[in-house]
C-alpha cells in the first residue's frame, strides 16, 4: 500500500488521568473507555537507558525483556503461549528516560493476565540460557536494523551529536555492549530499579475506576518499596562548528539527510514558542520545508523538522531524503531555509495559521483513553511541568511572532550543525561537501560502524 504523504505532525495537548497512590510509593494513572472491550496497562520505570553502566548499553532494555523469559511456575515458552491464548500482547519500549512494559488484553481475560504479569514482575527467574538467547537475538536485531537507511542515519546522528553524553547511547545497545551484559547485571538492574517507588502504572480502557487500584496493587504485589532512580543526567552541549558525516552504504539511489543540533527543553521559558515556530518550519504538510523541497521541486517524498522532548535538551533534527543526484542541491536548500528561519523568524500570518492548526488538532491528541494516559505518563516519567499538556493550547495561543522568532534564534546556532547523510559516498560526498558553507570537519564512516 502506498500513500500520498509522509506523515508530519506537530503539537501536543491536554491530559488529566485519574491518579491513585499505591502502597509503597508507586503511582497509578487511569483513563477509562468502554467503547471497545480492551484493557491496556503500562508498567513504567522512572529511568531508562541513561542509567545503563559504561560499556553495557542496552541493559535496561534487556533486563525488562528478560521478565517474560521465565518466572515462577512459567518457562519462557509457557509465558508466550499464555499471553497469546488470553488474547493479549506485551512489549518493552525503552527510551533514555524510561522503560515501559506495554500490555493489552481482551477485557474478559483481564484478571488472569494481570496475574501473569504480576508474577513476571515480582518473581522473574532470569534463566542464564534465556539471557544468552536474548543477547544473541538482540545482536541479530542490531545487525538487521542496518538494512534501514533511516535507522542508520538516526543512530549516527544521535551517537555523534551527543558524543560523551548518555543520550549518545542507543537504548538497544551495540553488538559489543549487549554481548558484555551478564546475568549479574540484569539482576542488579532489576533489584535496584524494579521497585515500587520507581514505578508508574498506567491503565486505560474497559475498566472501572473502582477496580483500577486493585489492578495496580496486584501488579506490584511482591515488589519492595525501594527508591526512585536519581536523575543524574547532565545537560548536553553542542560542539561548535559545522560538521558533515557521510555514512557510506553501497548502491544507494537516494540519501537520507539529517541536519541536527541540540534543541529545546520542556523547562525552557521559550519551549512552546520554539515548538510553534518549528511547526511553521517543518511540522506540517504545508510547512516551509515541504513547500520548498517537495511541492515546488519534487526533490523528496518528505521533509520535516522535529524537536525532541526529554528530561534534558534533546536533538532538533531536519530530515529529508532526495535522489542521490539531488542530494547536494537539496542539502544546500535545506540549510538556506534553516538560515532564513533562524535569522529571519516567522511571520504573523504563519503564526496565526499554525496556532489555529495546533489548537484545533488538539482534539486528536486526546480522542482515546490510551493517548490521554500516555500524556499523563510522559508528565511523570519525563519530569515535564505538571501542566505541560493540560495548559498546552493556552500556551500555544499566547505565542507571538516575536516570541517564536526569538526562541529559535536563542536556541539554534546555524554555525553549529551536524549533517549526517547515509548514501553512497563515492557518488555524493563532493556535492554534499560543496553544499554546506563553512564546514569545519568532514568524515566518512561505513554504515555498520557503531
Amino acid at each position: 500500500m502506498t500513500a500520498a504523504k509522509a506523515r508530519t505532525r506537530a503539537g501536543a495537548p491536554v491530559a488529566s488521568p485519574m491518579r491513585f497512590d499505591l502502597p509503597g510509593g508507586a503511582l497509578a494513572l487511569l483513563e477509562t473507555s468502554h467503547d471497545v472491550p480492551l484493557v491496556s496497562f503500562v508498567v513504567t520505570l522512572r529511568c531508562g537507558s541513561a542509567v545503563d553502566p559504561p560499556g553495557k548499553a542496552g541493559l535496561a532494555r534487556i533486563a525488562m525483556r528478560m521478565l517474560r523469559r521465565g518466572c515462577e511456575g512459567f518457562t519462557s515458552e509457557k509465558i508466550d503461549f499464555r499471553i497469546d491464548v488470553l488474547g493479549a500482547e506485551m512489549a518493552v519500549d525503552t527510551s533514555h528516560s524510561s522503560v515501559a512494559v506495554h500490555a493489552q488484553v481482551i477485557a474478559r481475560n483481564l484478571e488472569p493476565f494481570v496475574g501473569l504479569v504480576a508474577t513476571m514482575l515480582s518473581a522473574p527467574t532470569f534463566p542464564a540460557d534465556e539471557l544468552e538467547r536474548l543477547k544473541r537475538e538482540s545482536v541479530a536485531e542490531i545487525v538487521e536494523a542496518r538494512d534501514s537507511d533511516r535507522v542508520v542515519a538516526q543512530k549516527a546522528l544521535q551517537r555523534t551529536l551527543f558524543e560523551g553524553h548518555p543520550y549518545s547511547l542507543s537504548s538497544g545497545g551495540t553488538v559489543p555492549s549487549v554481548q558484555n551484559i551478564t546475568r549479574e547485571d540484569v539482576v542488579a538492574f532489576y533489584e535496584r530499579y524494579v521497585v515500587r517507588r520507581n514505578i508508574v502504572i498506567g491503565i486505560a480502557g474497559d475498566v472501572t475506576a473502582a477496580k483500577a487500584p486493585s489492578i495496580g496493587e496486584r501488579l506490584l504485589a511482591g515488589l519492595r518499596e525501594g527508591e526512585a532512580a536519581p536523575d543524574a543526567v547532565a545537560e548536553p552541549t553542542m560542539r561548535p562548528g559545522r560538521r558533515l558525516l557521510v555514512v557510506d552504504k553501497p548502491e544507494r539511489t537516494q540519501t537520507q539527510i539529517l541536519v541536527g543540533t541540540v534543541g529545546t527543553s520542556p523547562h525552557d521559558d521559550d519551549h512552546v514558542p520554539f515548538v510553534v515556530s518549528n511547526a511553521v518550519f517543518g511540522g506540517t504538510f504545508t510547512s516551509r520545508l515541504m513547500k520548498e523541497i517537495r511541492s515546488k521541486r519534487g526533490w523528496s517524498y518528505g521533509a520535516s523538522a522535529r524537536a525532541g522532548v526529554d528530561r534534558r535538551r534533546q536533538s532538533w533534527v531536519l530530515w529529508t531524503f532526495p535522489a542521490a543526484e539531488d542530494s547536494g542541491p537539496c542539502l544546500k536548500l535545506s540549510i538556506e531555509l534553516m538560515d532564513a528561519w533562524v535569522d529571519g523568524g516567522v511571520t504573523p500570518r504563519e503564526i496565526a495559521f499554525i496556532q489555529r492548526y495546533l489548537v484545533r488538532s488538539h482534539a486528536f491528541d486526546i480522542d482515546t483513553a490510551s493517548k490521554r494516559l500516555h500524556q499523563g505518563l510522559d508528565v511523570e516519567c519525563l519530569s515535564l511541568p505538571a501542566d505541560y499538556f493540560s495548559g498546552w493550547t493556552d500556551r500555544v495561543r499566547a505565542v507571538t511572532p516575536e516570541s517564536a522568532s526569538a526562541a529559535v534564534k536563542n536556541r539554534l546556532r546555524t554555525d553549529d550543525l551536524l549533517v549526517v547523510v547515509v548514501g553512497t559516498a563515492a557518488q555524493v560526498l563532493e556535492p554534499l561537501r560543496s553544499a554546506v558553507p563553512r564546514l569545519s570537519e568532514v568524515s566518512v564512516v561505513p554504515f555498520d560502524a557503531e
Partner: protein
Amino acid sequence: MSDPAATRHAWAAQANATAKHEHGTIHYEGAVAFGGETVHRYRLGNGLAVLVLVDASAPIVAYHTWFNVGSRHEHPGKTGLAHLFEHLMFGETEKLKAGVFDRKLEESGAETNAATWVDWTYYHELIPADRVRLAITLEAERMQHLVLREPQVASEKEVVANERRYRVDDDVEGLANELLYKTAFARHPYQWPTIGWMDDIKGFSPEDCVAFYQTYYAPNNATVVVVGDVKERALLTSIRDAYGAIPAQTIPAEDVTPEPPQVDERRLELHKPTASEKLLVAFKGPALGDADHATMTVLSEVLFGGRAARLYRSLVVEKELAIDVRGWVSTFRDPGLFECGATARGAHTVVEILPIFDDAFARVRADVVGEDELARAKARLELGSLQQLETVSGKAEQIGFFETVLGEPDHAFRRVEAYRRVTTSDLRRVARRYLVDGARTVLRVMPEPVMTTSSASAAAPP
C-alpha cells in the same frame, strides 16, 4: 415507538422534495449492525454511496472517500497511474489554487492523507466535528474540478519517483516483495507494483491523468464513509448539496485477466547489499471473499503469528536460524498469495531455513493441529480485530475497505465469527488445498556485496 428505518425513509423523501438536482436525491438503503453500533447506508441519485456511523465518544469525525479503482485497473506501460493520481488529487482545482486544499484542512486542525493499493484508492480526513462541512466541500470539489497541468504532473512524478526509491529501490524488503508478485503472477494485474515501474512513472503525461480522472473519479464509483460525532441529517444534507450536481459516469467494464493456476515452482535469487539472507515463499491463496480466507488466516497465525507460533518457535527460538518469520494471506478481491517469509540470522542461510518451512507445511497437511494451538491463534486474531476498532479512523477504514472490496461494511465482525467457527480439520483441508509444493514461488535474497564490519575510511578535510 417509531420505526427508525421508516423515519429515515420519510426524512429522505421529504429532503428530496427540495433537491436541486436529480443526481442529488437521497435514498435510505437500510442499516447494518456493526458490533454494538449501527451503520446506516444512503445513496444519492448520482450513485454515491454514503455510510454513516454516529460515534459521539469524542468531538471528531473520520471522513473517508473510497474509490473502486486501484492498480488492477492499469495496463502494462501505464503502471502506477492510480497511485500517481492519488498524489495529484491534493493539487489545484478550479476553485482552489495549488496548496490551498491542504492549507484549509490544516487551518481547521485536520489531518489528511490517502492510500492506493491493488483494488482501491481512498482519501481520508480526521477533522474536528464542527468542521466536517469543510471536508465535504473539499472532497466534492476535487471529485469534479481537479486541474491537471504539466508543471504539477511533472513535479509530482518526481515526488513519486522518490517515494519509489524510498520504499522499493533502497529497501531490500520492498524490492523482494515487488519481485515476488512479478514472478508469482503471469497474467493478472497483481503482477505489477501499485507504485508502478520507474519507467512508467516517468512517462506519464497530463493527458493520461485526465483520462484516468474522467474514467474512474465519479460518484457512482465511490463510497463516502463517515464515522464520528455528527448529526446524521445535517451531514446528509451537506453531502447532498456538495455532491448532488456531480453527474454519474459510465464506468468501463473491468478488463482483468484471471490468473491461470500455477503448476510449477518458480525459484529466483535477488542479490542486494543487505545484512542477511531472506526467504520468501508464496503459495496462491484465496480471495478475500472466499470462505477459505478466514481459515487460511488462522492457519497463518498457527504457523507464524507470535512467539509461540510453530515456525517462530522453531526457527527463531530453538534453532536460532532466523531473526523473524512472518505469514500473510493477501486481502485482495481476487485470489492473491499466502506469503511466508523469514530473515536469516547472521551467517545462516535460506538453505537451512527452507527445509524447516517445508516440514512445517507438510505437518499441517498431514496432521491436525492441536486444539490449544487453534485457541491461541483465534485469541490473537480476535485481539487484532478489536485493536482496529479503537478509533473512529479505524472504524471508518474497516467499513470502507470491506464495503469497497466485498460490499459488506460489517465484514470485520463476520470475520471474527468466521475465525471462531474454524476447526482443526478445516485447517488441514486448506493446508492441503493451498500449500502445494509444486506450485509456489520461492525467492532467496542474498547479501552482495558481502556486508562485514569494515574499518572507517579516512576522514577528509573540507
